[in-house]
Amino acid sequence: MGTAREMPVNETASSVVSARRLGLTFETNDGPVHALSDVDLEVKRGDFVSFIGPSGCGKTTFLRVIADLEKATSGEITVNGMTPEEARKSRSYGYVFQAPALYPWRTIEKNVALPLEIMGYSKADRDGRIQRTLELVNLSGFGKKYPWQLSGGMQQRASIARALAFDADLLLMDEPFGALDEIVRDHLNEQLLKLWARTEKTICFVTHSIPEAVYLSTRIVVMSPRPGRVTDIIESTLPRERPLDIRETPEFLAIAHRVREGLRAGHSYEE
């Protein structure tokens, strides 16, 4: 069972995502699959929350429920105090997928402009935002390039810029660095923390890397599969300012150890 947490009766203004006894069951030909079961979670404004667990634990599904890309079949969830559908329609979040999903026929700046065009921003406003967000992800000067002319890491940074362009307070990231090599990944993790500090966004981050989760997060949600459920929620004791070598400190290793214990407790490897 997940750690049942006391939920405030009145939603506080600082709550960005609030899930209570959330469940999602897919009906398949082989019978129902419980992707999520009894998930209770509260994400506060300014949090950096990581979801970690083996594949099939429902971490991506949970992120997709927040984004209204999947519908929960039981329980309640609010995003910015609204239903996920209302939140999506009022464009309250930016979503970064596992792959950059840049449109190959658009240049980098046109890709960043895509959500702005759809949301009806004026040309002048668009240009300003493109410049600002590309700067934020250190891609100034690459705006005129096509995606294939950029490395994988740069492409993913461009897709982060695209998610930031319309100033949503909530950033949902689904294993954004999963396909990149470790050196690039370290570099991007460091950049992401700086970006988080500068923009004061709330970030929900799905990963299957323990060091990544511990390094980035203020809170780590450990999940286990069949049915997908929360087994532990760990508040990070690390300071907000985190140089890369913080990963060798005893404090870091202690948190990593607790995450590993949480993953093991999910019995995910015996099944």
């Binding site: 979503y95 026929w105 759809i118």
Partner: protein
């Protein structure tokens, strides 16, 4: 160095095959025309040497199989040496066929795109329309063409329109099938992205589905333009059309002008190759402007 490579990789293999075909063609022409020539010789009571006899089989006015040089000289003569308004000019006949090909291809492409857009957006259309579309292509065009010509002729529509109609009939299909595939080619992740922006169906269509379908459009247009040409030529056969590559073929077979038939065939092939190359070139230009990697 690059020209050397070009010769080795591109020109040499093609040249070898062309030479082989020409050689086989000459040998074939000799044997096909030999019996008639022997007959002629016997009646005229002439006996000729083997070399002489070979030469004669290569220069009959109405051979069963004309020799390559006979066809080439006919094509050359009727393409470059005649006024383009002359009834014997291949340029004139090609132009007649080309104009109905172009009209039919234009309408066919448009119709194919419209059908594809409908099918992609309305599920019932796929179920109701698709079987008819496929059935339309299983009907032999040689059977359909005369009916179209006769029916349209009865309501006083003659000339270019009926031929273009047959071109349209043949060319909408590859475009429709290709564009259904193209408009559905965006990956789930790209569609999800549009959903997170709360994009409308129209926005998803214009900003994602249409650009993603462009490579499919040009590939299917290459097939469609060749089919359009076949449609236009077939459309010229049953009309007793006075002009066009089809009428050239027909007239040639009426009067056993085999060299003319082959010349018309060559003209048709060259026209088809030019059209396909033109569409391909257009596709490359569009691809380049859409950020495609230069090959």
């Amino acid at each position: 160095m690059q020209t050397e490579k070009l010769v080795q990789d591109r020109i040499l293999p093609v040249a070898v095959i062309v030479l082989a075909i020409v050689a086989i063609w000459y040998i074939g022409a000799h044997f096909m025309n030999a019996p008639f020539q022997r007959d002629l010789d016997r009646r005229a009571n002439v006996t000729s040497t083997a070399a002489d006899f070979f030469k004669k089989t290569m220069s009959q006015p109405k051979p069963i199989l004309p020799a390559p040089h006979q066809v080439v000289s006919n094509v050359f003569e009727n393409t470059f040496l005649r006024s383009v308004t002359s009834n014997r000019s291949l340029v004139y006949h090609s132009w007649v066929t080309l104009s109905s090909t172009a009209v039919g291809f234009g309408f066919g492409t448009l119709l194919g795109i419209l059908i594809a857009v409908g099918i992609v957006h309305v599920t019932t259309l796929e179920r109701s329309l698709m079987p008819w579309i496929i059935a339309s292509q299983t009907v032999p065009i040689l059977a359909v063409a005369p009916m179209v010509i006769v029916v349209l002729g009865a309501i006083n529509i003659t000339g270019l329109i009926p031929k273009a109609f047959i071109s349209t009939y043949l060319s909408f299909f590859p475009v429709a099938v290709g564009m259904v595939k193209g408009l559905r080619s965006p990956e789930l992740i790209q569609l999800d992205l549009m959903r997170t922006y709360h994009a409308s169906t129209a926005q998803t269509f214009w900003k994602l589905r249409v650009p993603a379908s462009i490579p499919f459009l040009f590939t299917s247009m290459k097939v469609a333009v060749a089919a359009s040409l076949v449609g236009a030529i077939v459309g010229e056969l049953p009309t007793g059309a006075v002009a066009g590559i089809g009428s050239k073929l027909l007239a040639g077979s009426y009067y056993s002008q085999t060299i003319d038939i082959w010349a018309a065939l060559i003209a048709g092939s060259v026209l088809a190759a030019l059209l396909v190359a033109l569409v391909g070139l257009l596709g490359r230009i569009v691809d380049r402007s859409m950020g495609g990697r230069s090959a």
